[in-house]
Amino acid sequence: MGQPLIQLQDLVFAWPGQAPLLDVPAFQLDAGEAVFLKGPSGSGKTTLLGLLGGVTVPERGHIRLLGQDVAGLGQGARDRFRVDHTGYIFQQFNLLPFLSVRENVELPCRFSASRKTRAEQRHGSVAQAAQTLLAHLGLDDSALQARRADSLSIGQQQRVAAARALIGQPELVIADEPTSALDADTREAFISLLFAECRAAGASLLFVSHDQSLAPLFDRHLSLAELNRAAKPREV
């Protein structure tokens, strides 16, 4: 614990032919930390997540995940690195509607051998891991787990997405506005469940949202506008 999980250094990113969108001198997220990053739309949030996921590479600077310089890896290796070490939760419609709830949770293990191995080591089998995680997130009913993912309520779907992000114990969970489609009550309940599960799995959490009211729940909160020098002039 306490060692850096994400390290950004002098990161600059611009879409071709445009002014820099991101200019982050330094950012660090430690292992086991739960960080709230406030990012209104247009602040370069999506781009930053793309960089962290290794989908895009920066123009300058370094992105280190677990000490590995992601930008230095090839496309395929970045994809593999992402799924091995990161779980994602999006705003909404996170699930493949035509798969069952349990199959949705198992998806990362289909594409990442290391997450499959870890799920098996901890729970015996991938199916067992999915079931345990779903149970922890209050989706215990096995009939419900066998249902099509799109038959669930939005709140339930987000919990399924959380279980999917956590299966196979990735070191990092990135949540991009996961609560924006939820109402206020379910929102806090969801976040505390997410905290508990991240802690149990030993995963760090990077929670990106424009909703400042959630910030106090986290170990640390910062704003992308403060981090990103390129964003400042535009906010004026």
Partner: protein, 421 residues
Amino acid sequence: MYLFRLALASLANRRFTAFLTAFAIALSVCLLLAVERVRTEARASFASTISGTDLIVGARSGSVNLLLYSVFRIGNATNNIRWDSYEHYAKDPRVKWAIPISLGDSHRGYRVMGTTGDYFEHYQYGRRQHLELSQGRAFATDPFEVVLGAEVAEALHYTLGDKLVLAHGVAAISLVKHDDKPFTVVGVLKRTGTPVDRTLHISLGGMEAIHIDWHNGVPARGAGRISAEQARTMDLQPTAITAFMLGLNSKIATFSLQREINEYRSEPLLAILPGVALQELWSLMGTAEQALFVVSLFVVLTGLIGMLTAILTSLNERRREMAILRSVGARPWHIAGLLVLEALALAGVGIVAGLGLLYAGIALAQGYVQANYGLFLPLALPSAHEWTLLAIILGAALLMGSVPAWRAYRQSLADGLSIHL
């Protein structure tokens, strides 16, 4: 393997479009195979309109012409041949059997053929099938007996014992009828699917009898007329016939005998090999058959383009699906593979369903087609040629599937993990 399951699940999610797409492919595949099968069988059946006959001999003209009038009852002979020429070859030691035929009269648009009892014994069609009677018997010694082809009996509602009058000439409406000498139906042949079905068969004696009082193409009048009763007592040995068919003891003799007949000194004759003449005739009709094949190929192409359109249209609404898959670790080539598998699954289901439709169709139509068109469509497994066609269709589907695959690949690289709603 998991990708294939995902592709199927995704297709099942869009089952209505997927069903229609696969159905369009199935119909086109069924059409292609049906055309192919009918084509093959039509050629085979055409080639087996007559079988077992080694040579057909008639007056010297063209081989297709001789084949047309002697076997297909189309057109007319340019000339008759003498009875003694027939006898000369019928007695040849190389000849196993000989069937004389005499044409020129008709009954309500159907051709009348004079022949001998040997016709029912030796004439073969299809896969060496002999003619069979469905009712009655072959004509016997009485000259005014007629055996009907299946279609004649059915279309004109004749049964055993009915009397009918033959018309002189082969025009559909003939002004000159042999109404003084009616014929009695003594037999009806089973359906063969060949021109035999459309023929009335009488004995050569009968043919001779109805023309016995004719001179220079017109019937005699008044005292010159000869009644049917009188005719029965007369010598009805014909002096000329239209053509004759030969079956030989040994096939090896076919060519030498053919040459001999073609060089026969006392009368200009033409001998043809039915198989060769049939091939010549078929090659004349081959163009239409190939056009049909080309059209059905285009129908398959249309089906596949329908599939391409359906997949391409779905791409945009499935960007979210792609982004989710990317976020759980699917690499761009996984996404591309997913779409190729989808195309393959649609084409595969289409092909299997097309085969199913084809076999169901054949099973249903087999009896009807055989009875009415003389085509036997076998319920056989696809031939090597048909497998090749199916493989080409699958290959084309693969090629088509790579178009949306490539687009999705580019798209998923550009979209990354951002979910477009």
